[in-house]
């Protein structure tokens, strides 16, 4: 039933090729541009072929963007803080939603979903004033605090569905056997929910790494706290952009998340798939 004839195969592969070109072309072109000398890039119309490709831009960019290393560190630091804080807030809440019946449960879940739909842009003004009053503008906190708030709702929904997949019979059996709630949490819930926690943690990290722009350009002007996206965005304001170095720096900025993702994609894809497969 899953056999394809050669014609169908060619058709599907061609479709995949077109689809993949759309998805990957920007990355391929960024990488190619990063390897080419600047005077080859500045030729019009576009030259498809360069003969002297080199990694020169990857060495030179650290001089052109002197704080690149710091930006990379900041991005990592900010994303880690946001992910950890998100997990701390979300684990108990998600467990409560998965296991307990209480008044306003569904309503509050829908409110959560609704809150998730608000862009940070809507609440920037009060947040700006709040952070200014607290003296937190131009600091790591100014980016961490709003970042966490916008990851909590989705993280609760995600983790709730993981907790729900742990059969409640297991907990009930343990409860009947006289296990305390803490024991149940330690010996049943914790080990069984580790994959879920890993997935939600990675989700939060990648989400936090990806959202480092709006809050960062609004609440922080200090270079030493800037994450990569805003750091590089500043750099593009220069009179003439050295595109090969720019692309090199952009790729280096993406690399941590990409590596993390490739390394852990099995968990992420399995996690997402599991939600749809097993009910």
């Amino acid at each position: 039933m899953n056999k394809y004839n050669p014609f169908e195969k060619i058709l599907i592969y061609f479709g995949i090729f077109v689809f993949m070109t759309f998805i990957l072309l920007p990355f391929i072109e960024m990488f190619y541009a990063s390897l080419r000398p600047l005077d080859h890039l500045f030729r019009s119309p576009y030259q498809f072929y360069s003969d002297d490709l080199s990694f020169w831009a990857y060495r030179e960019m650290w001089n052109t963007v002197p704080m690149l290393g710091r930006y990379i560190f900041n991005s990592f630091f900010l994303a880690s803080c946001v992910a950890i804080l998100t997990l701390i807030f979300v684990i108990p809440a998600a467990y409560a939603y998965a296991r307990f019946k209480f008044p306003a449960k569904n309503t509050s879940l829908y409110i959560l979903l609704a809150i998730n739909m608000f862009s940070g842009a809507v609440i920037l003004i009060p947040l700006y004033k709040l952070l200014r009053t607290l003296g937190l503008l131009n600091s790591y906190q100014s980016m961490i605090i709003p970042g966490v708030a916008f990851l909590i709702p989705t993280a609760i929904w995600l983790l709730k569905s993981y907790f729900e997949k742990i059969p409640i019979d297991l907990e009930e059996a343990a409860f009947v056997d006289g296990a305390s709630r803490v024991q149940i949490l330690r010996h049943i819930i914790a080990p069984l929910s580790t994959p879920g926690l890993v997935v939600v943690g990675i989700y939060a990290f990648i989400g936090a790494y990806a959202q480092q722009f709006l809050f960062a350009i609004t609440f922080n002007q200090k270079k030493e706290y800037m994450p990569i996206p805003t750091g590089l965005y500043e750099f593009i304001g220069y009179q003439s952009v050295k595109w090969n170095e720019m692309m090199a720096a952009a790729l280096v900025g993406m690399l941590p998340v990409l590596l993390l993702f490739i390394f852990l994609q099995k968990y992420i894809v399995e996690g997402l798939t599991a939600g749809a497969v097993k009910n």
Partner: protein
């Protein structure tokens, strides 16, 4: 009975205690600012201070032709972007669901635009769209479609389309991955039964796959519409809302008013409009979602 009642209330307390930290955090960082935004929209708040001005901000906003244009533009932009994401995402998911060699690699290769920071991806698109040296203009010139350098982000219409394409590029992977996951969740015996009954591949797609993944399609339309409406970074980095306002959506306008020139009151009035529209969306889609869930449980 008594026992039951007691455990019920105890359960409620435990549940509320577990939820409290997250709830308080959201109340402080999201809910309060939302209410404060509404209040500020009735003032002329700026860095200097604030006075109550009643409906002045709203009157000015709604009587301005520019603002009405922005609202329309936002919906047109959104409509094209969301439709393209859903269509391309569905086609992509079908292709990657085909049982062929290499599909597991392709499934990983779809995800980079979704995973990498949007702002960094947009730096790449800035280069692609470069009118003199970019690859798109280059291909255009070499094939004769363009008769000279063409700055995609420099003209009204092409900038509008270019920002949509970049937005679709960012949004498609997630849609694809979710559709794919949903397709793999469809019970295999449904297909086997249909195959035994002689249903064609086409029939199996339209009569089994599509109805089975409809809930996911609707959920993704909901999320996609809302994210697209909220899309900020893509437009901001590519065009900052230009040229001559042609890519200024509501979100961009709100940002410019509020933090471009620190007119908090005016910005807040725009933010309230955004809020109301988002609530309408959310309500509309949640109602739809509830109806689908009902339908499924009835079957």
């Amino acid at each position: 009975m008594n026992q039951k009642l007691k455990s019920y209330t105890a359960q409620t307390y435990i549940a509320y205690a577990l939820i409290a930290p997250a709830a308080l955090y959201i109340i402080l960082i999201v809910a309060w600012p939302l209410l404060e935004t509404i209040r500020l929209s009735f003032t002329n708040s700026s860095l200097a201070g604030e006075d109550y001005v009643g409906l002045e901000n709203y009157q000015k906003m709604f009587s301005s032709k520019k603002f009405n244009g922005i609202v329309t533009r936002t919906f047109v932009w959104m409509f094209f972007s969301v439709s393209l994401k859903l269509i391309i995402g569905l086609i992509g998911a079908v292709l990657l669901n085909a049982n062929l060699k290499g599909r597991s690699i392709f499934r990983v290769l779809v995800m980079p635009p979704w995973v990498v920071p949007i702002a960094i991806g947009m730096l790449g698109w800035l280069w692609l769209y470069n009118g003199y040296f970019g690859i798109i203009a280059g291909v255009g010139m070499r094939t004769g479609i363009l008769d000279g350098p063409f700055g995609f982000l420099a003209y009204k219409q092409s900038a509008f389309i270019s920002t949509i394409i970049a937005d679709v590029w960012v949004g498609t992977p997630m849609v694809t991955v979710f559709f794919l996951a949903a397709m793999q969740g469809v019970p295999r015996d449904l297909y086997e039964a249909a195959y035994c009954d002689g249903a064609s591949r086409w029939d199996r797609f339209f009569k089994i796959t599509l109805p089975q993944i409809t809930p996911v399609i609707i959920t993704m339309s909901l999320l996609s519409a809302i994210w697209t409406f909220n899309s900020f970074e893509i437009i901001w980095i590519l065009t900052e809302g230009g040229p001559r306002g042609s890519t200024t959506t509501l979100i961009i306008d709100t940002y410019k008013q509020a933090l471009g020139n620190y007119k908090f009151g005016r910005g807040a009035a725009r933010a309230v409009v955004v809020m109301i529209l988002l609530m309408l969306f959310a309500g509309f889609y949640l109602a739809l979602l509830a109806r689908i869930n009902k339908k499924i449980s009835h079957e």
